[in-house]
């Protein structure tokens, strides 16, 4: 089993495999001072600063580490073009869910840790001059899990893109539905698809880039039904988590199972795109949408 597989239990409880935990966990194994960390894929010791300079891509094996939402936005959008929207939508605790820590307390902690109001960052920006609506799921906020706020913001992103006549680009990294919101989180799968259906009817063009890891209710809803589905190299993408599958079928999973390359081979992705090529591939893709009802970009 690879290092990654060992972390899979945490994938279901999105909360545990946060970026903070990631680095904290990494730090323990690191050289003094935390200047170095070990690649979760190949085990190579990496100089932390070098990893950050390379947009968190392992210099040895090219493993694409989970990217925090704000870093993703900085990577994809033209400098200064980002305008975040819908930051005032906050979670409700309609189930009054309390497992040792009340749900809203968990949300508050995630807010403080990430300095953002939810797992989904939504707004407008430009990719090499092409204006888009961008939605980014951040794994460091409760495992990028989808509750009512994330579902609502995806739906609002669709409506904003319709209103502005811009393409919609979504980046996902998520453990799936947010258990603490029970069946209401499940229903976000329906809500996001209903909004995408309306967006599609108006001629809207949608691109989803699935990044490591994207599982559960996010893969099984809006992420998979965008017009174009892309993935980053090595990203774990699936419906059920590998640990659940292994315990159900009681056998070891084949190497590379549920990785982006596996999905591509099985005909389930349009392309795999390396982080370093992302901006250029996205901008070229967006140009092809100019024939649809979405208006030409001004550039």
């Amino acid at each position: 089993m690879s290092e990654q597989d060992k972390q899979d239990p945490a994938l279901e409880d999105g909360e545990k495999l946060t970026e903070t935990r990631f680095s904290r966990r990494g730090k323990k194994r690191d050289m003094p001072g935390g200047l170095w960390l070990k690649c979760e894929n190949c085990g190579q010791m990496i100089y932390r600063k070098e990893l950050e300079e390379k947009a968190r891509v392992c210099p040895a094996c090219e493993f694409h580490f989970t990217l925090p939402g704000r870093e993703r936005i900085a990577l994809v959008l033209d400098e200064g073009s980002w305008h975040e929207r819908f930051t005032d939508i906050r979670a409700l605790d309609r189930l009054q869910f309390n497992d040792s820590v009340p749900y809203l307390e968990k949300v508050k902690r995630a807010e403080e840790r990430t300095r953002q109001t939810e797992a989904l960052l939504c707004g407008t920006g430009a990719v090499l001059g092409r204006e888009i609506v961008l939605a980014v799921l951040d794994f460091s906020f409760m495992g990028g899990s989808m509750g009512e706020v994330v579902g609502e913001k995806i739906a609002l992103a669709c409506e904003l893109a319709t209103e502005l006549q811009r393409p919609l680009v979504i980046f996902t990294s998520s453990g799936g539905a947010r258990m603490h919101e029970g069946v209401l989180s499940l229903m976000q799968m329906a809500k996001t698809c209903a909004a995408l259906a309306d967006f599609g009817d108006k001629g809207g063009f949608s691109v989803c880039v699935m990044t490591h890891p994207t599982t559960g209710g996010v893969t099984a809803s809006f992420a998979s039904v965008c017009d174009i589905t892309l993935a980053e190299p090595g990203a774990l993408i699936g419906f059920a988590g590998p640990r659940v599958i292994a315990s159900t079928i009681k056998q070891e999973l084949p190497p590379g199972f549920q990785r982006a390359e596996f999905l591509l081979e099985k005909g389930q992705l349009d392309r795999i795109v390396r982080r370093s090529d992302l901006k250029s591939v996205l901008s070229r893709l967006l140009d092809y949408a100019k024939g649809s009802k979405v208006e030409k970009s001004k550039h």
Binding site: E12, D13, F86, D88, I89, R94, L95, F97, N98, D99, E148, E152, A155, L156, E159, L160, T162, E163, A177, M179, E181, G182, V183, L184, S185, L186, M187, M189, A190, K191, C193, A194, A195, L196, A197, D198, G216, G217, T219, A220, S221, F222, A223, S224, V225, I237, G238, F239, A240, V244, I245, T248, I249, L253, P254, F257, Q258, F262, K266, Q268
Partner: protein, 337 residues
């Protein structure tokens, strides 16, 4: 009537709360056979015992916990798709296959008739015998099952037949083949496609409403639940394992998830609850199935009256503003909707 009392022995897992009822029922059948055998007139005692069976069942079922409800929803004698097909349909022509990869018996689809009403039935199938259950993966469908469902729903649209979906699954199957063939994408595509189908869709949760596997055939204009069915984002077992790694706390997880029909009605996720006979559907399957039959006819009549464009608009709005949260969130632009 196939309704027969439960025997105390072999109580299914999680059904121990029924033991007092089962003991009374066993004594009642003893008395009845005694009276038959000996000709003794013990009708008064029998009547009294019948009364106490009734009152005991009433009191137990009135205070059913969430976890007990889940156990009732999973009861082996609870009517499933196969029973509805055999008992309430006047005609049924099963249509197999996704015509791409394979045939998944975990979802049964076909042309169905009740009285003078034709429709497309799409239902999770768990099977009755051990062999059937294994073949159906206990109601856990593969991508080909969801794709079969979609194919038949599109046929229904072409034939202008309404769709009745019966949900009864622990969840979509988690396996290598299922992932290879795009389980997530199959479910996502069904959810999206159901927002385009230009015929009425009635959804009834008849047993287990297990997460995305349920939603994969679960987008409807009207969504109903049987009284003792459940609908949840995760099983109570899964939830307890993640939160506490403790099987002892499964009942607590069931409670926290708010997964019963009354919870979902309160959260305005479903439109209505179909009441079950005293002591649950497994005690009087034919009574329950008759109720479902009447409900289907009534609901389809109601949906008939809505013009197609409005039907689609309402369906999308229903999920877009689920749980009556419209107005709480900002809107993109005034007059957009």
């Amino acid at each position: 009537m196939s309704d027969k009392p439960q025997k105390p022995e072999g109580t299914p897992m999680g059904m121990s709360f029924e033991r007092p009822i089962q003991e009374l029922e066993a004594r009642l059948s003893e008395l009845e056979s005694l009276s038959l055998r000996t000709g003794l007139d013990i009708s008064e005692e029998i009547e009294a015992l019948k009364k106490s069976v009734r009152s005991r069942t009433e009191s137990i079922y009135k205070n059913l916990s969430a976890w007990e409800t889940v156990s009732v929803a999973r009861h082996a004698d609870r009517p499933g798709a196969v029973d509805y097909i055999a008992n309430i349909l006047g005609d049924f022509i099963e249509l197999h296959g996704d015509k791409v990869y394979g045939e998944d018996p975990a979802i049964v689809t076909g042309l169905a008739t009740i009285k003078n009403r034709r429709f497309m039935l799409v239902a999770h199938r768990k099977g009755r015998t051990t062999k059937e259950r294994l073949a159906c993966n206990f109601g856990c469908a593969h991508p080909e099952g969801y794709r079969k469902a979609l194919r038949k729903m599109k046929l229904a649209e072409k034939l202008r037949l309404p769709i009745v979906a019966m949900i009864n699954t622990p969840g979509a199957y988690p396996g290598i083949g299922a992932e290879e063939r795009g389980q997530a994408a199959a479910i996502a595509e069904n959810i999206l496609a159901m927002f385009y189908l230009r015929v009425p869709i009635l959804v009834i949760v008849i047993g287990e409403g297990g997460s995305g596997g349920a939603l994969g055939i679960g987008i409807g204009d009207r969504v109903l639940m049987l009284q003792y069915s459940y609908y949840s984002v995760i099983s109570p077992e899964g939830c307890a394992a993640i939160l506490w790694k403790d099987t002892e706390r499964i009942p607590e997880a069931a409670e926290a998830l708010k997964l019963t029909s009354s919870d979902l009605k309160e959260l305005q996720v479903i439109d209505g609850v179909i009441p079950e006979p005293l002591g649950g559907a497994h005690r009087a399957p034919t009574v329950l199935m008759d109720e479902v039959k009447k409900t289907i006819l009534k609901e389809l009549d109601g949906l008939d009256r809505i013009p197609t464009e409005e039907l689609l608009r309402r369906r999308r709005d229903r999920y877009r503003h689920l749980g009556a949260l419209a107005g709480r969130f900002p809107t993109v632009a005034a007059g957009l909707r």
